[in-house]
Symmetry: D2
Subunit: 230 residues, 4 copies
């Protein structure tokens, strides 16, 4: 079994909880409240925007043969940002004054700090984990959603075959990086994979619980029970 | 009014909520549950450990005249880490297998990403905000806590006169950096000040709500209502 | 006068020496030895390759409105690298086992260190300086070179109108960044402009003196009189 | 044989040329011209100053058990900077308006870019190479120099037993990092070792040839034959 497959197996319970998240199931069934999906759209738009510097810093550390692919990811992100704006306009989701929730902001900081501070293989692990998580999550939605749904273009974007091929390519590359890495680096790669899954889960939880809808006055007294990393 | 004072005035309601946080009040009154304080100790130990790379990356960007001070901050962090270990041993707080909560991890990522990516004045703003927040918070505790409390050494460390002088020095330097900065950089500095206050509040909320005590199986389904950044 | 124009005026003597460099004059007149031009081709190919991480790290710090332009620079660099390979094949320049000379390696390190450590406006200043230097240098060659020269595609690439428009755009943006910057940052921008001119000059000197042709056994005993930065 | 010893063996000819450099032999014999040594002092002072951000960025990536040692290196650099200022005052070396030569500037950029972009083990390799080179170089001088020489404190600082013990410690740690590293990382470590030796050689050549004494008007037309990296 390759390194990538090992990670998904090891984080099995969390991975399962992620792809069966109520946000995804309700989106698939067409019963997701409009404002809940809108919250996710706004936050994921900000996340995709924050992924641009993440990928850029990765490119600077990338081996020659990964550069073209990662530059392609930058273009893909631009297209995703356009898709968000287009869907927001089409479905009437207010995209003025977007502000990140705590979880969105934190997730972006995690991406940035990883790209700057960790080795390339470590940063690439986080990239793989985020893309694989999105593909597996949205593929669950793709199996069942009404194609007339206004959210279908998102579902197809990440759940479809083109994205599947991209994720499969990332998987091969990750497996190769892992087999080239020493034991300490490989252990750190696994740790970063786990952390990414936690951030992914927190992101779905945030979107589902609709935190972002609480007004500015709410502040962080609603912070409640943030996830434990133990 | 200097830039530093302006920030504290502008974020007044949040700043007030922070320094009057139930965690602090109950610590002052001696009614904080042992395990709640222990949670904070474990998480703040990890935070101080995570502040070392933050300060290091700042030193690399620092003007000549700030280097000695920041190198002193590195030493200060080592002493704080020792204080934590000493108090943990003295009071019987279990320091084995420390793992960061979501908020602790996120806060450290915010420090790192800021130090790497933002200008020196921006990174310094975050340093000031964290230190000023800690001083003001613990000073509230210092006015009333029983000196025989096992937690008194922490209270004195951040609430006392030596730390006050250090924070006053940071304030002067921040004011100077802000007056040297252009309008765009100064606006970004203010934004980062606000973000730091939000992370500080989330940290107290996390410690108070005792999230960290929930076991590994709890995962992030407890994530509840993370703070909104609007 | 804008900031960009001020820099070129202030470094006037060096700027002039750069655009009147014998390497350029002999290229224009068609009397440049084949191997001298080949040396430059190999070293500039490595330089363009090294500029990819420089631009990438800049993107991570760039304001929203600069991202598309800088991503375009990444594509432009890919096209330049292809032009080098195509010309090398066409003219019979050996591109196997390319190794950077001291100056090429140093120049790339300067780009990287600047992008990582300095503010965005500072990094952008270096980008502008390199591109403006190349445009002005090759424009001198364009006025006189035989269009049948095998080197003409390079001359047209950097000396032509498309590149002129790009450099003019960089100039406007630099002027705006400089007017937004505080006095200390603007002074640092000027310092980095000067340093870039020195590296450009050293690069032409290296190509012209043909250092790169000396074999591996030569080592650095040939280092002679490297430029003073005073 | 450990990784460190392998590197020194592989770069044997260059390493030998370095430790037998005329600058060192003439310093040992007491026949070095005052102004030549003064040039080295000014440039090495700037180098030590530039090493502070290098070490700082390394600390941010360092494993827990290396932090105290590297923080110690920061203190050591402060003491070296004081030694330079003290010796300059004692011997009458003008330390006003210090400006780096091309080689000094380039070497510092190499340190910075490596610390930011490469893995920790790679950055540590460069640290080891610089310190080992200095120890071996000055130990050659120590065997023969008149203890009454005004330059003796430098010779003893890097050639003496305390520094020897520090370098021996770095060697052990480097060997361990290398044995933990994967093949690709280890190859990159070797490459960076070689590059460091080239920069060291260029530094001695620069000091010996007295480039730094040439006035600002000299510019880079003196650049002559910079070293080839082939």
């Amino acid at each position: 079994m390759g390194f990538a497959a090992e990670q998904i197996e090891r984080t099995g319970a969390d991975w399962q909880r992620m792809i069966e998240h109520p946000f995804l199931q309700r989106t698939r069934d067409g019963t997701i409240p409009f404002e809940t999906f809108a919250t996710w759209m706004r936050q994921d738009y900000l996340y995709a925007d924050g992924a641009v510097p993440f990928i850029s810093v990765l490119i600077a550390k990338a081996p020659e043969q990964h550069r073209a692919m990662l530059t392609g990811v930058l273009s893909m992100l631009q297209k995703e940002l356009e898709l968000f704006r287009e869907r927001a306009a089409a479905a009437g989701v207010d995209f003025d004054d977007l502000t990140p929730t705590f979880v969105t902001h934190a997730y972006i900081q995690f991406l940035l700090a990883t790209a700057y501070r960790e080795s390339y293989a470590c940063g690439f692990t986080v990239l793989y984990a985020t893309e694989k998580a999105y593909h597996d999550s949205w593929r669950e939605v793709l199996c069942g959603i009404d194609r007339a749904s206004p959210w279908f273009p998102f579902v197809e974007n990440w759940g479809g075959v083109a994205f599947a091929a991209y994720v499969a390519h990332l998987e091969e590359e990750l497996d190769e990086l892992a087999s080239d890495a020493g034991a300490a680096e490989r252990a750190r790669m696994a740790e970063l994979f786990d952390l990414t899954v936690r951030y992914e889960l927190a992101f779905w939880d945030m979107a589902w619980s609709g935190t972002a809808r609480s007004g500015p006055s709410a502040g962080s007294q609603d912070a409640g029970q943030p996830a434990d990393y133990t």
